[in-house]
Amino acid sequence: MLAYTIYLSFAGALVLAMWPRAWAKSARVFALMIALAGLGVALAGFIAARGQGSVAVADASWVPALGIHYTLQADGISRVLVLLTGLAAVAGILFSWYIGTREGDRANEFFAFFLALIGGVYGVFLSVDLFLLFVFYEIAIVPKYFLIAIWGSTRREYGAMKLALYSFAGSAMVLIGLLAAYAVAGSHTMNLYELAKFPFPVSFQMWVFPLVFTGFAILAGMWPFHTWAPTGHVAAPTAASMLLAGVVMKLGAYGCLRVAMTLFPHGLDPWGFSFLGIDSWRTVFALFAVIGIVYGAVVALVQNDFKFVIGYSSVSHMGLVLLGLLTLTQIGIDGAVLQMFSHGVLAGLMFAIVGRIVYERTHTRDLGALSKLQLGKAMPFAAWLFVIAGMASMGLPGFSGFVAEVQVLIGAWKAFPWFAIVAGVGIVVGVAYTWRAMQRAFFSDMAVVDAEGVADPVPEYEPVTWAEKAGVILLAGTSLLIGLFPRLLLDEIIPAVQALPHALLTGGR
């Protein structure tokens, strides 16, 4: 059933690509219906497969001569991320509701690229055949470029090109690794689990693992390959920022876990020597992840562009995901997967508030300028939802971020105590930058006072539209729900992590 998420999205994209330009205004309605149907299928598939481990979704022979099959499967991790994709798609379209209301919006093209991107993301999360997974992974690259380059803002062409080239370079690294593995294993199969059974020589894994891991981690925003993320997020239109931070960065992290770590677990083994305390690829990447956590948080602390604050906070939060994966402990990987979901929802929420609700009305994202506008009084809805999003994002108990981050930190404490401490510091800085942005943007009350000592009145803005409210409530409600009942997702994630190859959970020794 879950396969229909893919077909629906691509069919929708195809229909919208041929949508007559005269009907551009109705494109958004059609796109929303497709996205809702996708979310419905994802949710139904999630519920139907509860507690069932890995379920087969589709299997057909594709290129028999090369052992390539059209194989889709969904284990708990896939189902959680497919659900996240459905949510992000619906929220993204709700926040693109303005596209199509003006002349020259090219709404049909926008939603066609949007749905093509979504279809690719669904496909990656469901694929088990690596060729198929790679195909979907690359399908997601091109729509991103056009979404940003055509409908973006600040330095959009630069941001879009940088993002496309980073993604494509990363996927070229992945393809080298996959082709090498395919050739070494005798070219009979591209099925992930079949290929994972092949005993790749440790020396082979030692160079392929870092290649493939880095290739995917580029898209996950791993330091020092993260620089596409802030520029891309800032340049992108709101819906595309929501997708980038919400699901596209998750593609990278998912690839690290599902492909790099599953196929080449011995790439995580110690090298047998130690240089400055670094004795394996695992430590190298964990170090990068920790640097990303702290670096992203510190840089976010000094940004003046509201979107850059959130862009760098994404780098920091994705660092936690990677750190959680590299702990190679049950609890750490559980936390990492939950953090993917949580960050996907929360980053989407924050980009929606900042990029859409606030920017559309004030036409500025500069924190200094926003601090003079008394937004806390002028836009109470946006202000309070940002408070909720901020609290969730900084990891307050009761929200999804807390459950995820605590598990990652516990896992990290077992695996690398020092890194856990540094990551904890990064989380504290996270509280600081969220607090600073929230305070300056919404609650500074620094109204401009004129010569006679009379403060400017509270400015009046257009009311928040129903589409914006619906999108915000959907995302904030999801975060709260998962914060209060994390078992809803963890019951799926934990068995799926337990079922990962044994070599992975005992890797590094």
């Binding site: 290129v63 195909v135 055509i150 070229a172």
Partner: protein, 490 residues
């Protein structure tokens, strides 16, 4: 050699060369119709009737080939027919038909009959090049192809650029043909035969300095045909100056034929039980050309402002990828190269079709001429999107599949084990770079605003052909097995 050629069976020669004969006869027929019956008709009518006759001839030849799958060889392997050769020939005929359909509206020439007749002669040359396995036949067929292409390049008589391009093409081509003939003469002197299949053994026997000279000279000749570095200098100027349909022909059918020939010659140079002498050098030459083409083609394409020159440099890069497959010289890699060459050629024909239309409407092939194409003609922009993404190797388009198949075949080849991985890695890294310049074109088409909002005029036939090519590019990528009965995979 003499015995074999002298004792030729003319009945069998005729049977094997029926497709070529069809093309020859129709090209004469076109001249008669054009110069005789239609002398007083308008140029449009003459062009249309000549092109349609040419399309009919190609189709007839292709149908004949499809209906007569045979394995035959003539005069001790001077000409051979195998399934792979037939596949390449059918592909070449199809490409010629598409090029002719796209030139229905072309206005660069006042001599439509001669134009189409020479296109058919060039196609005959391509078919013969693909099937030839004897040095003399190879040379004659190559010259038939090359001379036709020189003339075609110069066909826009009112354009100085066209004449300049033809002159450059001719000078480089003449030089490389001379070098190749010189190389062939050494090969004959060394082995006592002009036949590729009987040449293998003596060549790989002992180490001979003369063999080195011979191989380098032959590599120069073939490197020119496929536009591989360092014999690529003609390509950008010729691609830019020639009339668009001619560029499409040079970039498509001629490429396919040259790569088919490279496969055959490489097979001939290397004895099946691979030994270490002459053939090792041949592989080194191929790899050097491949690496140079991949690097230089991709880097030079980055800075082009003319879309034709951009595609010329990208063609050099693609030739580099295919040379890796030639150097691996297994049965699988040969099939993969052919698959790559055919699908690449198909995509390029489409791309030059779009360029021709844009030039007709804006008078320029510069990047800026493409600005806002998505608003001036959405279907045309959509087809160009698919072509360029396929050239960049983005799935699910056929270009990705062709790359995957080719590189997988190279990595699996036991004969390539000591160089495959680094070179394939370099090729993939370079193809990541290539996305930049393809996106430069697509950015103009989709992102930038048009200078001139007026819709772009496209004839119905042109658009239909372009859409069909685009559909093929997409569907062959989604169902890569569709051609497997024709070109074996894996």
């Amino acid at each position: 050699m003499n015995g074999a050629i002298n004792s030729i069976d003319y009945g069998q020669l005729f049977a094997i060369t029926i497709p070529e004969t069809i093309l020859e006869v129709v090209s004469l027929l076109i001249l008669i119709v054009d110069l005789g019956l239609l002398r007083r008709s308008s140029r449009t009518v003459r062009m249309a009737s000549a092109c349609l006759l040419g399309v009919a001839a190609s189709a007839a030849a292709a149908v004949w080939l499809l209906g007569h799958s045979q394995v035959a060889s003539l005069a001790g392997d001077a000409l051979v027919v195998t399934p792979l050769v037939a596949a390449a020939q059918i592909g070449i005929l199809l490409l010629t038909a598409l090029v002719l359909l796209l030139s229905l509206k072309a206005e660069f020439t006042r001599n439509p009959g001669e134009f189409v007749a020479i296109v058919l002669l060039a196609t005959t040359g391509m078919l013969l090049v693909t099937a030839a396995r004897d040095l003399l036949v190879i040379f004659v067929a190559l010259e038939l192809l090359s001379l036709s292409l020189y003339v075609l390049t110069a066909f826009a008589k009112s354009s100085a650029q066209s004449a300049e391009a033809a002159l450059k093409y001719y000078l480089f081509g003449g030089m490389s043909a001379a070098l190749m003939l010189f190389g062939f003469s050494y090969l004959y002197g060394l082995t006592g035969t002009t036949n590729l299949s009987s040449m293998t053994y003596p060549l790989s026997g002992e180490s001979m300095p003369l063999a080195v000279v011979a191989l380098v000279l032959v590599a120069a000749g073939l490197g020119f045909k496929v536009a591989a570095v360092p014999f690529h200098l003609w390509a950008p100027d010729t691609y830019q100056g020639a009339p668009a349909p001619v560029t499409a022909l040079i970039a498509s059918g001629s490429k396919v034929a040259s790569f088919a020939l490279l496969v055959a010659i490489t097979d001939g140079m290397i004895a099946p039980p691979s030994s270490e002498t002459g053939n090792g050098l041949w592989i080194v030459l191929l790899l050097a050309m491949a690496a140079g083409s991949i690097v230089l083609g991709n880097l030079a394409a980055l800075v082009q402002t003319s879309v034709r020159r951009l595609l010329a440099y990208s063609a050099i890069a693609h030739a580099g990828y295919m040379l890796l497959g030639i150097a691996a010289h297994t049965g699988q890699s040969a099939a993969a190269v052919l698959y790559y060459a055919l699908t690449y050629a198909l995509t390029t024909v489409g791309a030059f079709g779009v360029i021709g239309i844009v030039e007709r409407n804006t008078g320029s092939d510069r990047l800026d001429a493409f600005a806002g194409l998505s608003r001036r003609n959405p279907p045309l922009a959509g087809t160009m999107l698919l072509y360029l993404l396929s050239l960049a190797g983005i799935p699910p388009l056929v270009g990705f599949w062709a790359k995957f198949n080719l590189f997988a075949a190279v990595l699996r080849a036991a004969t390539a084990s000591h160089w495959a991985l680094p070179l394939v890695a370099a090729a993939l890294a370079a193809s990541a770079v290539s996305l930049y310049y393809y996106l430069q074109v697509l950015k103009r088409i989709y992102v930038l605003k048009p200078v001139n909002e007026s819709p772009m005029q496209v004839s119905f036939v042109e658009l239909t052909v372009l859409v069909l090519i685009a559909l093929a590019v997409a569907l062959l990528g989604i169902f890569p097995g569709a051609l497997s009965g024709w070109i074996p995979l894996g």
